[in-house]
């Protein structure tokens, strides 16, 4: 090539310009996300520092006491109850549904389950909350007779399980379908039944994909607010003594407190936001680290 190719300079310039535009656009897309993280981190850390981390995570809130603002203990306990219960209800059912979708395709019902799951993944979560309110909370309210009765953490967990299940089921079925055909054939060729092929071989090979699906489902459930609005009944000051009683949750606390007039509430809401962010990212991070990848 000519050492002084006249077009070379121009092409280099264009190349750099193209790269700069791409980097700029990528940055612009990331900027809001980074700004959210930054805002939550700064405001949240300041709020938590006023009480101290342990106090903030365990104590009940005292939003009107500027000297001793307390924390979000009861709401956090409620959230932990909700995550544990919704996982206990939703994960086994979702795993069964995922196995059914992936491995029993012969049955028409399996296609219906897949279709419903795909539909429900994008279902407005407030409708799920309304549904549980109608079929679970209201009947219990009528049975006990009192207004404000019937709400419970269990009702919220049911709603969260409904939000999480279709997502986890689809993830599980995808993970199972990703298992190479010859591994599936090898299991059958050894005299395994369809069910044994699933639980002795396929679930093991696909364990990483399945666990990631389950954990992301949990993270989704941990951050949801709408399914809790009509189901758990709230209560951020008292610790829930049992899942059959009403209680609070961290996302709901944020929603309620940020609407109050006094700055004490806002600070607690910011601190709670950071806790929620840490909780959800913690679950996500765990899903990346916990399971060693199965090397094929």
């Amino acid at each position: 090539m000519e050492p002084r190719d006249p077009s070379l300079r121009r092409r280099r310039l264009l190349d750099r310009l193209g790269l700069a535009v791409l980097a700029g656009l990528a940055g612009a897309a990331l900027l809001p996300l980074l700004h959210i993280l930054y805002t939550v981190a700064v405001n949240g850390a300041a709020a938590i520092a006023r009480s101290g981390l342990v106090e903030f995570l365990t104590a009940p809130p005292r939003p009107l006491d500027p000297e001793n603002p307390g924390g979000i203990g009861p709401a956090l306990l409620g959230s932990l109850w909700l995550i544990a219960l919704s996982a206990a209800i939703g994960v086994p059912l979702a795993v069964f549904a995922g196995v059914f979708i992936a491995e029993f395709r012969r049955a028409g019902l399996s296609r219906l389950v897949l279709l419903l799951s795909l539909l429900l993944v994008e279902f407005p979560t407030i409708l799920v909350g309304l549904y549980v309110y109608t079929v679970y909370v209201l009947p219990r309210q009528r049975a006990t007779g009192g207004v404000g009765e019937g709400y419970s953490l269990l009702a919220g967990a049911l709603a969260l399980a409904l939000v999480m299940m279709p997502y986890v089921a689809v993830q599980v079925s995808e993970a199972l379908r990703g298992v190479p055909r010859e591994l599936r054939e090898a299991a059958f060729s050894l005299g395994a039944s369809r069910l044994k092929t699933v639980y002795r071989v396929l679930l093991g090979v696909a364990r990483r994909g399945i666990l990631v699906g389950v954990l992301i489902g949990l993270a989704k459930a941990a951050g949801e607010t709408a399914p809790l609005l009509f189901t758990i009944g709230g209560g951020f000051e008292a610790y829930p003594r049992s899942p059959l009683q009403h209680g609070g949750a961290v996302p709901l606390l944020i929603y309620e407190y940020i609407q109050q007039a006094q700055p004490g509430y806002h600070q607690l809401a910011w601190g709670a936001s950071l806790v929620l962010l840490a909780l959800v990212s913690g679950i996500m991070l765990a899903s990346r680290l916990l399971v060693r990848r199965v090397r094929l």
Partner: protein, 253 residues
């Protein structure tokens, strides 16, 4: 002349309505290697999967005809496909030990699934026997509980063979077992085939006529689902009766 362990009579297979194995018949005598050779897409692998009823797991597959395993038609209504698969071992094109299991568990899974052993000691002995048969014992005896995924390609394929042997099958099906191996590993597998046929018949699918010539006692040439010619390997390679066979061996098709 040894007796025939496997007899295929008028076997037809359709996949999603497409006729891929057309009225195929052949006999596999005991303690021989029977090669099914043919170009890719000729239906060899599908035919092989009809011999242990593995095609049953695909709803799009339809099989008609008779496959007699020691005189029992494996497609007759009273026969359980799991019973068939336990007696007909299979080795695949990609070395495919179960990646989430250890070397030991890969061999033990067949006997465990089929409740073949009563004690841990009996299982240990069976695993050792199968690994020795597959020429793998000496290489892995000190690391039986390591994940199978850490073995080399050739070792993985021998582990797959040990896994199949642990069920003490009456016939061994091998679907291009060296297609993904280097020449050294291929040679080892071929030696192993020669050793194993002293006890059980082996049906070997291969796309390489050279491999058929090296290891098989009988060779069948399959072309677009039809069995063009079958006979003793020496005869197929030196005096093919069908011009198609000759053209295939000369690499003209």
């Amino acid at each position: 002349m040894p007796s025939e362990v496997l007899v295929v009579e008028g076997l037809n297979v359709w996949l999603s309505g497409k006729h891929v194995v057309k009225n195929v018949s052949f006999k596999v005598p005991d303690r021989t290697v029977f090669a099914l050779m043919g170009p890719s897409g000729s239906g060899k692998s599908t035919l092989l999967r009809a011999l242990n009823r593995l095609l049953d797991i695909y709803e799009e597959a339809e099989v008609r005809g008779r496959v007699l395993l020691e005189g029992v038609d494996i497609y007759s209504p009273g026969v359980d496909p799991i019973w068939v698969r336990r007696r007909v071992g299979m080795v695949f094109q990609h070395p495919n030990p179960f990646p989430h299991l250890s070397i030991y568990d890969n061999v033990a899974i067949g006997p465990r699934l089929n409740r073949m052993v009563k004690s841990k000691r009996e299982l240990d002995e069976l695993v050792r026997w199968a690994l020795e048969k597959a020429y793998l014992w000496d290489e892995v005896k000190d690391r039986l509980h390591m994940p199978a995924a850490k073995l080399s390609g050739g070792q993985k394929q021998r582990l797959s063979i040990a896994r199949a042997l642990a069920l003490k099958p009456r016939v061994l099906l091998m679907d291009e077992p060296t297609a993904n191996l280097d020449p050294v590993a291929t040679e080892k597998i071929e030696e192993l085939i020669a050793e194993l046929k002293r006890e059980i018949p082996i049906i070997l699918v291969t796309h390489s006529p050279e491999q058929a010539a090296r290891v098989a006692d009988y060779t069948a040439f399959l072309y677009y689902g039809e069995l063009v010619e079958v006979g003793p390997t020496g005869k197929i390679f030196t005096q093919p009766e069908n011009p198609l066979t000759e053209r295939y061996l000369l690499r003209r098709i």
